[in-house]
Amino acid sequence: MTPALRYLLCFLLLFPTAAFAFPGDTLRAGGDMPPDTTTKKKRAPKNYIRPTLYFSRYGTGIRDMRGEPKFLDNRLGNYGFVHYNLGFYAPLFTSSWYRKDSISLANFHLLFTFNTNVAHPTFVGLPEQHRLYKTGFGLRAIYNTGKKSIWFFDASPYAVGDRLDRGTRQPRYASILVWNWTHSPNFSFRLGFTRTFIFGNRLHLPMIGIRFGRLDDKYISLQFPRNITAAWVVNKNVTLSMFSKPFGGLYRFSNKDSLYPANEPVIQFGRWEITSGFKADFNLGSNFSFFVSSGYSWNNRINFASYKFDKNDKFFGIVRPFYKASVDPGLFSYFGMSLRFGKSKRVAGDYRLYEVIDMNNTFDPGDNNDGPGNGQIPAKAKRREMERLKYKDVSDLFDVTDLY
């Protein structure tokens, strides 16, 4: 783990402490706060989507690898993989308006996105391990027509490179355009088109999705090529899910090990695997959530490609590898957390906005297939929850004198 990553991890863990520990903390007996005499108006929220910072770590152990040609196979040795992913999105502009019928509330969301991902592939046979990065800023636009349709567009330009060699940096671009049709809270359908690298190559794929069940309760969602998920929102704090999704990327890899024999300083490293497992999301307050997940990583593929080798074999920009290998399946560990900032406009009960939030998280910034989860969607209130409310739950809500 590099010092920068250590500091980043410490920052991420310290931040919630620093951000949330102090308001309301007091040494005064009874915990009474001084009366609020401020005449400054509290700003009304402008956006429906809250700015969110998220972090995750995914890793597998060292496993056997078999590939062609054999001489490279012997040089590379066994393989393991870990990645750290940090992402952020924040609304830049939100607008909502009534359509001509004066009851359909349409809204438009423009968001800024940032993502940085550090991949640590381990090849036991190499003398020095490579640290591959991809970092980028992007923009996304979501248009909720106020009827059944939602349009989503994300543009994620980013740079990829290998920390072993600064000359390996190269710009890349991933994108997705999706049309969503929400028939009811229990059913939605998505169609779109994506330029993605999550299958370890530069691919242009259709996007097809279908969901049965409510996003704030229980649902099954099939979103090709992103994920298959069955989720159960147990209560306001816990969501359990089973999932299967591809993880992968196409990275720039320094050729200082001369993996490609010709005089070429940089080669392409592509990898992808399918992860199937269980995930538990915990919402601890409205600002912070974390998840833990584990399962089986299978269909592990890696490849190396060279532009020289690929020169006469391009079709839609797909790179043709000079080395291909499959890696034994194995267990993975996966955990992460997200921090949400500020306040948002009300979304409770508005399942089209739930769909907007879900799309924003399913199609995560940076084309990593590793979003922050749907912690902003409020869990469906259970029948007896009203009866279970206690004084402490409502005392902070508003001033008693306003309940006339």
Binding site: L13, L14, F20, D36, K42, G285, S286, N287, A348, D350
Partner: protein, 162 residues
Amino acid sequence: MRTRKHIVLLMSLLLLGAGLFAQPKQRASERIDAIKVAFITKRLDLSSEEAEKFWPVYNDYQDKRDALREEMMAAKRKVKNGDAAVLTDADYDAYVNAELTYQEKDAALMKEYVARFRKVLSKRKVALLLLAEEDFKKELLKRMSDKPDNPGGGKKGPKGGK
């Protein structure tokens, strides 16, 4: 190297634990909103089509009411919680004017949104909505009476003390 990793991991877990325990109570308003959705949906017996059109408009109405109320609350907070020795007649006057303006604007806003609700819901359901909002407030007040140090409240005390 491995030991260093373990130290970092341990430190991270400790910090994470500290972060978690330092969390404030979940923002009550978000949870109350979700409960309110269940409460009103049940009272009005909203169909899927009605709910689809109603909740975005209702949420928008509530957001606008909050913004309106906040304009008045700034003046109110000063008068209610401020030092009486420091407050001037102008401060009191500002609050009364802010309250009057708020009542006027709130009534106009309600009129505007009731017209929208009438396009989405039947006349009966619009009336039930107004009643349900009041009942929801009463339910919340009932929870307020559960305050442990409230002599008339809590489970041991008589119900409906308010």
